[in-house]
């Protein structure tokens, strides 16, 4: 299913400027999040400002419910919706190479195809490398090691390359975004980066100014922050498990399988559990979401990313549970395919929000220290 056409960037910028001018004259929402203090520093809004503010917004909805100008008022002010639409445009605009920006429009399809391609690739590669019969037989002589199917160097090589490429592509997006916000490269000072990291790791602003976000509906709740924490830390723990295992192997020559109480397995298990609960939780909240707040065109992208994270977690845990059975080979191929699809789609899916949001938060902390160049009272 093809999503409806995204609105034109000029149209979006004009609508955002209209809305921001109203908010800047009103300012009733200034206590909810970082967006309002940041907009209050300005008298007019360039396109770069608008991308910046949109990425400071995490779509909690508080400012829509609090807005005396919300539809059906003739000002039709739906701040979260406008910011969500701008973020869609941000992703398309800053993605690199630009030719791939279309992937954001049909993201559910793109991610689905990536998963299928990764599955085909994983099975074909292993079959070619180790022989198709090894899918079911390797487990008996492998004693839980995956490398009976795929040697360690090959695995590290493939995933290393894909991962580094993804990070580099995301880095290009970050740099372009940073430049358009009007900041110089060197200005991402350690202090503001640390503060941004603090905000990102604690999800500081997902608290609706101290009462919880109005997400998924008008009643303030911390549900979204909790599920996001599970997802985010689940992802990080899984990633950490992989890194520790790599260090074990190359640094100490310790070979997998690691015992259940070893560091990589504990990290991976905890991370897997996070991914088991977090993404479905977020999906569940999303399904109950007030449609006023969202950009319907981005639904596919959000769902695709969450589903992929969930599948990565589930298949990882499954692999751990059945690593000493005949299912190991098949499970390994599936899990590796999920991880591959996740890395490969990272620069072209919902994951990018982390990059732009981090950049926006860093900018926010940078800017906060600067004196105002006007004395708007």
């Amino acid at each position: 299913m093809r999503s409806p056409e995204a609105p034109s960037l000029e149209g979006l910028v004009a609508e955002a400027q209209r809305v921001l001018a109203i908010c800047n004259a009103c300012r009733y929402c200034e206590g909810y999040c970082a967006v309002f203090p940041a907009l209050e520093r300005r008298l007019s809004f360039s396109e770069g400002d608008i991308h910046y503010l949109a990425s400071l917004c995490h779509n909690c909805g508080s400012c829509l419910y609090a807005c005396q100008y919300a539809p059906p008022h003739e000002f039709r002010l739906d701040f979260p919706r406008v910011m969500a639409e701008v973020r869609g445009a941000t992703y398309r605009k800053y993605t690199w190479p630009g030719a791939f920006s279309g992937l954001f429009g049909r993201n559910g399809l793109a991610v689905g195809l990536a998963i299928i391609a990764a599955l085909v690739l994983a099975f074909a590669f292993i079959a070619a490398y180790a022989g198709p019969e090894r899918f079911v037989s390797a487990w008996s002589d492998a004693q839980g090691s995956f490398h009976a199917l795929l040697p360690h160097d090959v695995m590290t090589g493939i995933f290393g390359i894909v991962f580094v490429a993804a990070v580099a592509l995301l880095g290009v997006g970050f740099a372009r975004f940073w430049r358009d916000m009007g900041e110089k490269g060197g200005e991402l000072a350690a202090a503001s980066a640390a503060e941004a990291a603090h905000d990102a790791f604690t999800l500081k602003y997902l608290d609706g100014g101290g009462i919880g976000c109005t997400y998924p509906d008008a009643r303030p709740s911390y549900a979204r922050r909790r599920f996001h924490h599970l997802t985010f830390y689940g992802f990080l723990l899984c990633f950490a498990a992989t890194c520790v295992a790599t260090i074990y192997y190359y640094g100490f020559g310790w070979k997998a399988p690691y015992p259940y109480l070893s560091l990589p397995v504990i990290l991976g298990t905890l991370g897997g559990i996070g991914l088991l609960i977090g993404p479905p939780g977020l999906l569940w909240l999303k399904a109950r979401r007030d449609p006023e707040l969202a950009d319907p065109r981005q639904g596919g992208m959000d769902v695709a990313f969450l589903v992929l994270l969930f599948l990565t977690g589930v298949t990882g845990l499954g692999l751990l549970a059945w690593r000493e059975t005949a299912a190991m080979g098949t499970l390994l191929a599936i899990h590796l395919a999920m991880v591959l699809a996740l890395f490969a789609t990272m620069p072209y899916g919902k994951f990018v929000h982390a990059v732009y949001r981090f950049a926006a938060l860093a900018r926010f902390h940078l800017e906060r220290r600067r004196p105002l160049d006007h004395t708007a009272e």
């Binding site: 001018a21 009103c26 929402c29 909810y32 609090a66 005396q68 539809p71 009462i211 004395t375």
Partner: protein, 467 residues
């Protein structure tokens, strides 16, 4: 619950659905009374003018919640005396003032959140407690709290008649979806606002100039309940020409433009009328202390219009208004764009510029930049208007709310003409604000009055009904 079940008698019927009504409904229900609240607006526009507010002026002897320092009763009272010129009922006013301190924890307990003021309103951090998200967030919180307690709420339900004999309320007739229903109750809280949305009534009071008034808040405060009560023997306070009236951008919508339509440029430049003439000292005092007189000043000008004019030096030194300024490279062009006589405007500005004395401009205090030999003078922040581009904002009178109301006693009981209290009618909010505001206005006192007398009215109505 069946709100219009004809066999039912409610303990307390609350007429209106803004801050005062909600405070009364919550208090009465918490005291054990069965409560029905009828609000004429649909759910999206519920909450009357309270939906547009942002803070409540609050007394406190020590830092309290978001409030810094102290704002003692006496200072609050003196501030009130100053703005009303003494046209206030001291007993009721002091009650409203004293109670505000107790409101903050009560409001928090009912879901209202406060915030420390940030940009633009820091000068109010000591005296006014700001609602996180503004008045609509407050109204939303109160509706949620009221409904959780079991208050029945009926939207799009307009009170069109009241059975009130000899000061005893028996029932109210409401119109909903084209049908009329009589609702009986043992006690009634009237909290249906002033008559500021009623253009015909404003015209009756103000004459033809009212046709150029803009209503800043809700279109639903038609004064129906007020008119009924006055017709049925309630004692009136204040008069129909009194109210809160500010100068706002002439391009604002007729209703409901709210806070964003204000123009804060006045004290930085000059204001002229249709004839391109100045008519009042723009620098008399700090703008927040003066903005409430400019509605009347503009209302007294031909065609009820004024133009706030500044030059490039002043741009960016005030809260950005929602409508872009009219901009021009010369005074002549500016006059053309505004449809003013260009020579007249040039003369006015030349005369003003010539009268400006040298001084040190400082917008944060009453500085020494003033005019000499000019009438009317500009006594502070007078700087020559000589640096293009020039900017103008057209101004019209914007009515916030009216003060004509019903008299009450200190138990919020509505008083009848001969001075005795009605048996079972209690009034709160704008509909009785004239007891305290004979004229003038003190920012944030509307919510103080509504919350104080709303809570008292709710408690008294419940006590009466349950006795």
């Amino acid at each position: 619950m069946q709100p219009f079940d004809p066999s039912r008698t409610w303990d307390v019927l609350v007429l209106g659905g803004g801050n005062a009504a909600l405070c009364a409904a919550i208090t009465a229900r918490a005291a054990g009374a069965s409560v029905l609240l009828v609000e004429s607006a649909p759910i999206a526009f519920r909450g009357g003018n309270s939906r547009h507010t942002r803070n409540m002026r609050t007394m406190h002897d020590a830092p309290l919640g978001p409030l810094t320092d102290a704002y003692p009763e006496e200072e609050y009272w003196q501030d009130l005396v100053k703005v009303t010129g003494g046209l206030t009922d001291e007993r009721l006013a002091r009650m409203a003032i004293r109670e505000t301190e107790r409101h903050v924890p009560w409001m928090i307990a009912h879901g209202v959140r406060f915030q420390a003021p940030l940009g633009g309103t820091l000068h109010l951090a000591r005296t006014n407690a700001f609602f996180l998200g503004g008045g609509k967030a407050l109204v939303n919180a109160y509706y949620a709290a009221a409904q959780a307690l079991g208050v029945a709420v009926s939207y799009e339900t307009e009170v069109v008649d009241i059975a009130l004999d000899d000061g005893r309320f028996a029932s109210a007739t409401v119109a909903r979806a084209g049908e009329r229903h009589a609702i009986r109750a043992k006690a009634a809280v009237v909290a249906a606002g002033g008559f500021e949305s009623n253009l015909a009534w404003l015209r009756e009071a103000w004459g033809p100039p009212a046709d150029n008034f803009i209503v800043r808040g809700t279109p639903y405060n038609m004064g129906v309940v007020l008119k009924l009560l006055l017709a049925k023997g309630a004692r009136a306070v204040s008069d129909p020409t009194q109210g809160h009236c500010v100068a706002i951008d002439a391009r604002s919508p007729r209703y409901d433009g709210g806070i964003v339509t204000r123009v804060d440029a006045v004290s930085l430049g000059i204001v002229v009328n249709r004839e391109a003439r100045r008519f009042y000292d723009e620098g008399e005092d700090f703008w927040p202390k003066r903005y409430a007189i400019w509605g009347r000043l503009v209302a007294a000008q031909p065609e009820q219009i004024g133009y706030s004019i500044i030059d490039a030096k002043s741009m960016g030194r005030f809260m950005p208004p929602v409508f872009p300024p009219v901009k021009a490279a010369s005074i002549h062009e500016l006059a053309d764009a505004l449809g003013l006589d260009a020579e007249a405007l040039e003369r006015t500005i030349a005369g003003f510029n010539a009268a400006v004395r040298p001084g040190t401009f400082d917008h944060t205090k009453l500085d020494d930049c003033r005019t000499e030999g000019l009438s009317p003078p500009k006594t502070h922040w007078a700087r020559r208007i000589d640096t293009p581009p020039y900017y103008a904002y057209p101004l019209r009178p914007g009515i916030t709310f009216t003060y004509l109301g019903v008299a009450i006693d200190e138990r919020s009981r509505m008083l009848m003409q001969e001075g005795s209290p009605a048996a079972n009618v209690y009034a709160a909010g704008e509909i009785m604000a004239g007891n305290i505001l004979g004229k003038g206005y003190l920012a944030g006192i509307g919510m103080a009055i509504g919350t104080t007398f709303g809570r008292i009215a709710g408690a008294e109505a419940a006590r009466h009904a349950l006795a």
